[in-house]
Amino acid sequence: MIEQLRKDFPLLHTHIEEQPICYFDSAATTQKPQSVIDAVNKFYQQENANVHRGAHTLSAAATTQYEAVRTKLADFLNVTSKEIVWTKGATDSLNLIAAGLSEKLSHDDVILISPLEHHANIVPWQQIAQKTGAKLEVLPADQQGVLDLEAAKQLINTLKPKILSVCHASNALGNIHDVAALITTAKPYNTITIVDGAQSLLHLRPDLSAMGCDFFVFSAHKALGPTGLGGLFGRYELLNDMPVYQTGGEMIERVSFSGTTFRDAPGKFEPGTPNISGVIGFGAALDYLNSVDAAALSKYEQGLYHYLLSALKAIDGIKVWGDTEHNIGVVSFTYKDEHHFDIATFLNTYGVAVRSGHHCTQPLMEHLSLSGTVRVSLAFYNSYNDVDTFIDALKDTIDMLEE
């Protein structure tokens, strides 16, 4: 099955340093199936036009396609299409939400996040906290970097946060969070719950209605789609209630120099020309995801993850961080006191593309007393052979470092 799927991803058949590539950086950005590349290509060659404005056939067709992808995504997430806003990425989405909720915050309100958050789910809240006087508080995690769920629930009960914003899966360690449990705990306090799904959209295919969150954010490029596109789900009432964020064309009802009125959501949050080719490419990505056997892929991914994990753990001096029981397939490790950058650089010479550093989670690294880790992030298109190549390369690297 996987050998067949791998054929759909042209980049997997390229080379690094004259060696076949082992792409283990899918948490940074996934590779794209040919169908996504083709959809973007076809759009520019045959369909390119601006949306929402046209009397002409091209523009009408582009608009229809663009809106159809919104519906497709809404179906994928099990919500309604008017609850989907297109943005330029998860970061943009989180900034939009933070700005939109800021007027609900006042001095002494609590914004609660986890210690595993990506900077994109930290800094916007720090900014809003500074502006409003609200307090930013952090859920407890252990020395491995695993959220303590029971203590987390207790803290929610104690703090009664106005806002709870947590990642569904950690990009640095791969941990899957039981966000539904946290949301349920927070419900009695009318907490506005936000889930950073940048890492979960692809791996966990969340059902947002079941999850019960108020907002959910993602980036298309981390789920087989093009760069420069992301989006958010917002429960309609809350979403439509937020003040406008960016302003300009398209999102208005009427502009005059004496005053301006805005459209309802999602329109009011989408000023200007959107990333049309990005949306259309992402539509093809969703088609791709809908066409494969999700359960089988997930099983395969988990198998591969555990295969990688045991091979790594068998190497003396390797320490794997995070929750290895509930994991989307990200292995973050260190080797003795060696610098992650040296390891990653050597691995690269074997054609192995991993990431090294703090993974935009400096507070988590601080919590773990690390300057960074080497991160191997899997996707269903990785093969057992990729893992073997990596392990061999890592052993060579270690030999070299110990020389």
Binding site: H52, G54, A55, S59, A60, T63, T64, E67
Partner: protein
């Protein structure tokens, strides 16, 4: 022309040039709304161009009378088709009629820009809501 005649006529025409011309001619036959009736309350929200619509019952208080106008000829033509669907029906009959589906059947929705399509939908919904208010 009743709605079946309109439908047959449009279906018999080849190409959108001819169809739009016909739609426009249908619009021309629709009497203009007096300016005094082009009021804010009569504006249908969700249409890209202005559409004014009034719905009432005839003197016998039995059958629907809808009058409508638009500042664009093509939309006025679309209104003529919608009105042909509903005018002169009993409210309970009209409740059974889905003009939007009829537009879809004729391939008109697919051809209109999405916002025009939404406009047609908004007009049909407005009519149905007002019928509900009568019953």
């Amino acid at each position: 022309m009743d709605i079946t005649q309109i439908q047959n006529r449009l279906n018999s025409l080849n190409g959108w040039q001819a169809k739009y011309r016909e739609i426009m001619l249908l619009g021309k036959k629709l009497p203009a709304l007096p300016e005094a009736l082009k009021i804010e309350d009569a504006l249908v929200r969700g249409c890209e161009s202005n559409v004014w619509l009034h719905l009432d019952l005839d003197e016998s208080q039995e059958r629907l009378v809808i009058i409508a106008d638009s500042d664009t000829r093509i939309v006025k033509g679309l209104l003529a088709i919608i009105l042909a669907c509903y005018n002169n029906l009993l409210p309970q009959e009209a409740k059974q009629v889905d003009a939007y589906a009829l537009f879809e059947e004729m391939g008109l929705i697919q051809h209109l820009s999405p916002s025009r399509g939404n406009g047609v939908k908004a007009i049909v919904e407005r009519i149905q809501n007002q019928i509900d208010a009568f019953q």
